[in-house]
Symmetry: C2
Subunit: 340 residues, 2 copies
């Protein structure tokens, strides 16, 4: 595509490090944060990688994300810990919380860590891969500003609250990373920028009709919850659990402060890790998972173009391709980044 | 409706107790099991209450569900315990596991209990209400026989794997109880028995077209996953986690044995409880939840008939109504039951 440039992963990483240092990140924090943004891009999740980097930088420059802040322990209760994200960089806080949940799981079989007052973690799946590759079953979710209506309503009251569930598989992982909207706003923005229609209805237009037109949905701000009322319910419960378990802010509060400041900041997150080595059936877990995946792969495809995959399976192909060929980036986005 | 009879809750409970004792349940087990089936019916979940009672009895009579079996501990690892359901009655095993997860959460902040070789728990929401009314945040799920295709496939490879998330609210609870199919097979059977179309497309017909006709979907056995590929992915991950964490059987194995015997038995379940009293913000949790619910209730309704509700909100109305007016039961179903 003529409006796309291929950026080698190493080049992207160096650019991100350069910019992050310039806006106040220490060397190791710039390295790690750049690694996360680059890795998300290598894996093909451009909307939560390279495409979102400029907005992240702007939120740091405007003081909403504190480049040097680190999580601090608020309260410990056995296998459960509540941490304050201190408005630090969301991806770095989330990496910390994922590791800490794993440590608690090493001690207690299961570990739960909550983060209050943290920031957008970018791609939920990153932390799923991180934990599952170390041998943990992992569940985590975040709340967010309201961008989805309650079922039967027209104004945004629910976050899309991405949820990740991951399990080890072979030497890699099975990682399901999904938002409560049928399509993320990032994805809809991408489709709109490419003048494409969504493959399925993704929300309501301003007249209340279901539509595949991403522009109409970005106008009405009425993205469709997955499974209609079910996804709306799940978004609500994930918000309640995130706010209640962390003692942090709810979607209502995040939305309120965004109206005042223009920035989404201070979100609440939950991280749960389970250490498979602590289970009686640990030696046979690889076989169990393989048998489930084999059963899935033996499906009868709908047509010759169907490929039956587990969540995360295609990431391995995209990752390999982008590492070899370079990461495809919209030229406008890349020019904006190198000018930072 | 002329084919419906109103059964007082007490009468239903006594009938269930009578029948359960007749098929080998001890007095206390018959009482508790009858209470669960009756409570699900009072709450309006007839498909997983009174309507399913005859099939439950038949599975006991045929030896698939063991009326006197109780869960036994396989392995303990800190805040996590793996139990064998010993093919006992699913609802009784699930009540036990819910309580046990709560006890582990009392000690460790969070508690996880798995059940291998248990049976259909009927209504997921029952355990959500049970835990949340005692002050726990609660997540639980079960796997099941395959009744949903992988995304892009035509034959059943995934269970609908119901998932419940619950939190305390006022003196009651917010309880989200949802299967991975847009409509449960029980619900589709009910619509079909009433010659009604589904309100939204609920699956594919035998020609691969989306349809609202429950009869067509019961024929193709291709129920629509919530959120298309997302619900298919979630069903897969819930099965992997249930089988891996419990050491029990996967959807593939449950489906295999059903093909041989005609019965769905020996499923795997996960129960997670979090004790809110162990959190630093416990005193303000009621306010946090109320503020989230108030924000939801302030939504702009789509039209004058829209009612904006949290999951479980309407259950309170149905419960009150059915306790006062009697539980509406299909006459054919009730005659079948009283003849047992």
């Amino acid at each position: 595509m003529e409006n796309t440039t291929l950026v080698p992963a190493g080049v992207m990483h160096s650019e991100f490090v350069r910019i992050l240092k310039k806006i106040g990140f220490s060397d190791p924090k710039a390295e790690k944060c750049a690694e996360i943004f680059t890795s998300n891009s290598i894996d093909g999740i451009y909307t939560h990688g390279v495409n979102r980097f400029p907005r992240f930088v702007s939120n740091v420059k405007n003081g909403f994300f504190k480049p040097d802040a680190e999580p601090s322990l608020i309260h410990s209760a056995g296998a459960l810990e509540q941490w304050n994200g201190n408005l630090g960089p969301g991806p770095l806080n989330a990496v910390f919380a994922t590791d800490r949940a794993g440590e608690l799981a090493d001690q207690n079989g299961i570990g739960l860590v909550t983060l209050a007052f943290t920031n957008h973690w970018m791609r939920a799946g990153y932390y799923g891969w991180q934990a599952a590759k170390k041998g943990y079953v992992f569940l985590a979710w975040t709340n967010a500003e309201a961008n989805m209506s309650a079922w039967g309503a027209t104004d945004p009251r629910l976050g899309n609250n991405p949820f990740v569930i991951a399990a080890p598989y072979e030497n890699e992982a099975i990682v399901l990373d999904f938002a409560m909207t049928q399509f993320s706003y990032g994805k809809m923005e991408l489709y709109k920028s490419e003048n494409k229609q969504l493959p399925y209805a993704g929300g309501f237009d301003t007249k209340g009709q279901l539509t595949k037109d991403p522009g109409e949905i970005l106008l009405s701000w009425r993205a469709l919850p997955i499974g209609y009322w079910k996804g709306a319910g799940l978004a609500l419960l994930l918000d309640i659990l995130a706010a209640v378990l962390s003692g942090g802010r709810s979607t209502a509060e995040i939305t309120g402060s965004k109206k005042e400041t223009g920035a989404e900041y201070g979100v609440s997150q939950v991280f749960i890790a389970i250490n498979l080595k602590r289970l009686h059936n640990y030696p046979s877990i690889g076989d169990t998972t393989r048998q489930i995946i084999d059963f899935l792969h033996q499906s009868v495809p709908e047509n010759e173009n169907s490929s039956i995959r587990y969540p995360g399976e295609n990431v391995l192909n995209v990752r390999k391709h982008n590492l070899e060929a370079g990461i495809p980036v919209n030229k406008k986005v890349w020019n904006e980044i190198i000018a930072l």
